[in-house]
Amino acid sequence: MTVLLKDHAKLMQAVLVSGEIIGRKKLQKMIYIAKKVSFPFHERFQFHFYGPYSEELTLRVEELCNMGFLNEIKEKKGGYFQYRYTLTDTGKEFLSLNEVEMPFLQDCLEDMNEQNARFLELVSTVLYFDNLSKEEVTDKVFTLKSSQRYTEEEIDQAYAYIAALKAKLN
């Protein structure tokens, strides 16, 4: 199997072990966090208005939907649309023939999937600035994410959450 399909297969594996992922933003943040804690996802992320975002990931998910490997359900929620992702039977069959080995992925993604998108946005922002001190990161969160009004307690929780995720890998 070529490298390109391996990258697609890894995303399918991520959706499979998560069961269902509700929300594109959540999907983006889950994969970013997984990548940062060392799972071998290759999608490139950049910092955007709402935090780390990968156009490559968006396109790959679109490709998987077009291939019939991922099921996307669009639903109206309040004033905006929300998307739900699950793996189709064809996708499951493909994965069974093209196994992807990522130990501990299920444990980590299930855990992330139980968190809300707002918290994952904070966690991913903290990880994006992991080269900075906690004080500098806090400052970044307060200035770049001022509209989200994160508190210092939430930032502490984000750090604790990252440590707990990394502990799962050891």
Binding site: L4, G23, F47, Y50, E56, N66, M67, Y83
Partner: protein, 432 residues
């Protein structure tokens, strides 16, 4: 006089085929253009391997960087100046970030980054913040100025309006490269009325918005982006060249890891092979160096490396077939098996390439806040997302189009001097 406020005694102009003239009056900008790191961009093509399809596409990242600077300069000086939402203290910061936004790009950077697993954006940061001529110029403005410029380029600056001028869904970067790439490739798709768009741009606290009256000009821009994507950026022949380039780099790395003895030591590549690239090494690399190695590697004893290099240098590219991964992944497995049997290494000669593999994007309405969309400023002062007002944009952004191709060496498969039966089976499967 403060260095940041210093003006040249006479305005300097660069003739430019897209914007006619690029005007420089600020001493800082003139000094930045003269640095060796910025001059290096002359030796890096804007469109990588596209020149093998569109022979005019030889323009460099130097041209583009000046173009982005010029667009931002016009927005600031001609449209934003004097508006209460715009802080003119940010003028120099914005111009510097516009000029330097692509500084970390290397030769054929897309393939290079993929194979050697790095991000040119990190090198942009290192050049701006490291021991470089660019850093020395920026530091003369103020000790903290390089950091401010770096943050705008990385999109992590708190000055979101400044960031959005250089990087958003309707930014100076895209407006320049669409027009420039269209001009140099010779296609007519990249045309849109930029002057009109600039006139209807309005600064807001954290983003640039577009007056509703300018919606049709923006529709044209979105259409142009869509057409350029499919007609130029994702042209299957350019992708073929990109596939071969990527495979050459993979092969050279693989050989190095297997202690292969190169006839001529690939000195410039060693730190890439060992993942220990320094800024100094990186800045030494340009396209002429890469093409030099491709030339000499044609004489290497390794059949795969020499063949791939000959293909790239002489434009004997891979052929391609449409590929539907969902319906044909079993066929791909069979093809892989047959390629192996025929003695043609599928790792290098049977490649699936897909649209997600490209560094270009479509307009996204950002329905779930994945990224900021283009906002129209209504007469009432309300903001509305573009695709909710424009049927044309809605039609394009709502429809997903993806594409996959399977690349293979047509000449190898037509060569009946060996493994005739297997090659026939392969040709039947590929329907060629």
């Amino acid at each position: 006089m403060l260095y940041s406020a210093e003006k040249l005694s006479e305005e300097k102009v660069f003739k430019d085929p897209v914007h006619r003239y690029i005007h420089v009056r600020d001493r800082v900008i003139w000094d930045l253009v003269g640095t060796k790191e910025f001059q290096r961009l002359r030796r890096i093509k804007q469109l990588g391997t596209t020149f093998l399809t569109f022979h005019g596409a030889e323009h460099s990242r130097f041209n583009h960087s000046l173009g982005v600077y010029e667009i931002v300069r016009r927005i600031i000086d001609d449209v934003f100046a004097g508006r209460p939402e715009w802080n003119d203290d940010d003028r120099l910061l914005t111009l510097c970030a516009a000029l330097l936004h692509d500084l970390g790009h290397g030769p054929f950077s897309h393939s290079f980054e993929k194979v050697f697993d790095f991000d040119h954006e990190d090198f942009t940061q290192n050049i701006v913040l490291g021991n470089t001529e660019v850093n020395a110029v920026l530091k003369k403005v103020s000790p903290n100025f390089p950091q401010q410029v770096a943050e705008v380029i990385a999109k992590t600056s708190a000055k979101k309006l400044v960031v959005s001028l250089i990087s958003s869904q309707i930014d100076a970067d895209r407006m320049d490269y669409l027009q420039r790439d269209a001009y140099f490739t010779g296609v007519s798709y990249g045309q849109f009325d930029m002057e009109r768009i600039l006139r209807v741009m309005r600064p807001q606290e954290d983003q640039v918005v577009i007056k509703k009256s300018g919606m049709h000009a923006v529709e044209d821009y979105i259409m142009s982006r869509y057409q350029m994507y499919w007609q130029v950026y994702f042209h299957p022949v350019s992708r073929s060249a990109e596939v071969i380039l990527t495979k050459i780099l993979h092969r050279a790395k693989q050989l190095y890891e297997n202690n292969y003895s190169f006839k001529n030591e690939p000195l410039h590549f060693y730190t890439f092979f060992t993942d220990k690239v320094t800024l100094e090494d990186y800045l030494k690399l340009d396209e002429s160096i890469i093409l030099y190695y491709f030339q000499i590697w044609q004489e290497e004893d390794d059949d795969i490396l020499s063949d791939l290099c000959r293909r790239f240098v002489n434009r004997n590219l891979f052929k391609y077939a449409e590929f539907d991964p969902a319906k044909e992944y079993k066929k791909l497995a069979e093809l892989t098996r047959l390629f192996e049997k025929a003695g043609i290494d599928p790792e290098y000669y049977l490649v699936v390439d897909s649209s997600s593999d490209l560094p270009y994007d479509f307009y996204r309405p950002g329905e779930e806040e994945e990224r900021l969309p283009i906002h129209l400023l209504m007469k009432s002062g309300e903001l509305k997302e573009l695709s909710r007002e424009s049927e044309i944009v809605d039609a394009i952004s709502g429809k997903r189009r993806t594409d996959h191709k399977l690349y293979y060496p047509g000449d190898f498969l037509q060569d009946e001097s060996s493994e005739t039966d297997i090659k026939r089976q392969i040709r039947t499967l590929l329907e060629i």
